[in-house]
Amino acid sequence: MSHKHKPKLAVWKFASCDGCQLSLLDCEDELLAVAGQIEIANFLEASRAVTGRSYDISLVEGSITTPHDAERIHKIRRASKVLITIGACATAGGIQALRNFKDVRDFTNIVYANPSYIETLNKSTPISDHIYVDFELRGCPINKYQLVEVLSAFLFERKPNIPKHSVCIECKQRGNICVMVAHGTPCLGPVTQAGCGAICPAYNRGCYSCFGPKETPNTGSLSTQWKKLGADGDSLMRAFRGFNAYADPFRKESEIYEK
């Protein structure tokens, strides 16, 4: 992107927990430097100032869950040169996509006394189901260093260096002992995209897949391994129905174990 003016950045929120956009404010060492390179033109969590109607880069957090949001995302796409989705809600529908496996009306009845006040779609869907997305940054939450990498890649017109291999590679890089081999702890690391830095195995627990499916994941083979460790169908279904439940490979695997 060659700019005569400072490129304009916008941050948008759909159904989400705010954590991924907080990651931008959590770049304590980089925030003022980033703010020096770009103009934060629309970032409601941080500022009441909104400048302009078009943006060079839009970061989109959250999933589409209401008829209004399904319209709004198209307006944002039209106003953005580059649109990057951030976090599991935006890239896979998020934890709220667990509704996709049930009837949403039952859910509304459980939580709200007057379900008629609630406007909601049957499914929580990723942004890419609705519009063209230039880049999807995974994670629940995203890794802030990956966010800075993706932003600078787009600003300097190069490909973002975001690996698509599994958490296992990060475990080896970190020098973790394999929790599945050494301790018999079920782990989703072999089918999960890297990015977190293999934190869970480093803390003696199995990966629960915040970053979603890696490229070409062999979920069936991993399920077999889990069963050898004593996992039943219900545990497998719940394991694949986490924060990336509606990502295709995980959805399909979990449906095998549906009662």
Binding site: C17, I110, C200, G242
Partner: protein, 429 residues
């Protein structure tokens, strides 16, 4: 008949999506609504059928700003159901990671979300051009809170190390050593912050609130305790739902909570301070005395001073815990699930967060109830706006709108939380 509308479609510098609507007719405020249009996410519904052990990781995702609050309320509720006691160093470690969340969240709110209102800036980045040193120090303070969460929790947003019974792995004593100097710096900067924010201009505005907060026999409240108020409430968590009720209103996807006997009530830093200030750490107490902050604090705009005092407390408390820390032999206590009902509550940076779970004999969640701080504060926020606008009718629309936004931000509302929940709209006729 003159009518006027003050309207903010999308409130800034709050966590989540909401707006504000105030309607004035014949110089009377006739309608106030805090519109919450954050899409509902149905956590209580999809928790049904999940295992007890999944609750801390799933409920953390209700809020990226206060995940520790969700994790602590959920794990203590499960432990209550199973009759397990987590105490000693494990309990101290839980307080320590919670101190990290308070430091991070309070630093974010004081400097990035609230201070710009008092100083007339749209945001902290614009404020940084005139006050580079203060903003840089604020970022450093925030980072220290985050680093404490990273060390214990594995990462700052949605930490991975908290579980029912304790932790997956506990840090060694030496891991904390690099933090001591940093926390001392943070404590001293927090003391300076108390002085700085106490020097702001505060609107002349006080209300007679019912303050509700946890109270613990020998600590400033973070996790567990009894729920007390300045109007005679003193209950165990088991009794919560007999005293408080949530109702569903059309203009909000967040449920409104009210106290059955007294109606609206106020949770958060002012409530905690007014009810528990004798339990603050020594330097936090002194910092409050130095700026003449006396209980009861009744001006919600002064919540920023209380947050700064609580930041001093969180730093001192973290230093105290680190000083006395010895690595526990086991990272967690053993959990044997059985059927039961469990109650848990903790003090999120923005107020009390209540969880209740009913579990079957395998420890599977049959039913869940979560009441976040912002649902509890919604009615009080609307009443504050009504009274504030009534008293400041002479102000121009621009100025009144900004001050209404500021009045909402007094509560550090977390809309993502409450929907599991803001837009300003003042209409003058």
């Amino acid at each position: 008949m003159r009518s006027r509308t003050i309207k903010v479609d999308a409130l800034a510098r709050v966590e989540g999506e909401g707006g504000l609507f105030v309607k004035i007719k014949n110089r009377m405020v006739v309608d106030v609504k805090l519109n919450i249009y954050e899409p509902p996410r149905f956590f209580e519904a999809f928790l049904r059928g999940r295992m007890y052990s999944e609750a801390p990781d799933i409920t953390a995702r209700i809020c990226g700003i206060c995940p520790i609050a969700y994790q602590m309320s959920s794990v203590t509720a499960m432990e209550d159901a199973f009759g397990i006691k987590v105490d000693g160093q494990l309990c101290a470690l839980r307080r320590l990671i919670y101190c990290g969340e308070w430091i991070e969240s309070h630093a974010l709110h004081i400097f990035f979300l609230h201070a710009p209102d008092f100083l007339g800036y749209e945001d902290a980045i614009r404020m940084a051009k005139d006050f580079p040193e203060a903003v840089e120090k604020a970022l450093k303070l925030k980072k220290i809170g985050n680093e404490l969460m990273i060390l214990i929790g594995g990462r700052e947003i949605h930490p991975i190390n908290v579980k029912v019974g304790g932790f997956y792995r506990v840090p060694a004593r030496k891991d904390f050593q690099p933090f001591v100097e940093q926390l001392k710096w943070a404590r001293d900067f927090a003391i300076d912050t108390v002085k700085l924010v106490a020097g702001f201009n505060f609107p002349d505005f006080e209300r007679d609130y019912e303050f509700v907060a946890l109270r613990h026999p020998d600590e400033y409240p973070l996790i567990g305790g009894r729920l007390v108020s300045n109007k005679g409430l003193d209950i165990s968590l088991q009794e919560y739902e007999r005293h408080f009720e949530e109702t569903h209103v059309p203009h909000s996807t967040s449920l409104h909570s009210h106290h059955l006997q007294h109606g609206e009530y106020h949770v958060g830093p002012m409530a905690r301070f007014n009810l528990n200030c004798n339990q603050l750490s020594p330097m936090a107490k002194q910092a409050a005395v130095d700026v003449k902050l006396k209980t009861p604090v009744l001006n919600p705009f002064k919540s920023i001073i209380v947050r700064a005092v609580e930041t001093v407390f969180a730093c001192e408390e973290a230093l105290r815990i680190i000083e006395q820390y010895e690595m526990p032999e086991n990272p967690s206590v053993e959990v044997t699930p059985h059927a039961g009902v469990g109650f848990g509550a903790s003090e999120a940076p923005r107020g009390t967060l209540y969880h209740r779970y009913r579990l079957d004999h395998n420890g599977r969640i049959a039913d869940a109830k979560i009441v976040p701080p912002t649902s509890q504060n919604q009615k009080v926020i609307e009443s504050d706006l009504k009274e504030y606008v009534s008293k400041n009718m002479a102000l121009s629309n621009d100025k009144l709108t900004w001050q209404c936004e500021q009045a909402v931000r007094n509560y550090d509302p977390c809309i993502s939380c409450s929907c599991h929940f803001l837009k300003l709209h003042i209409e003058r006729e």
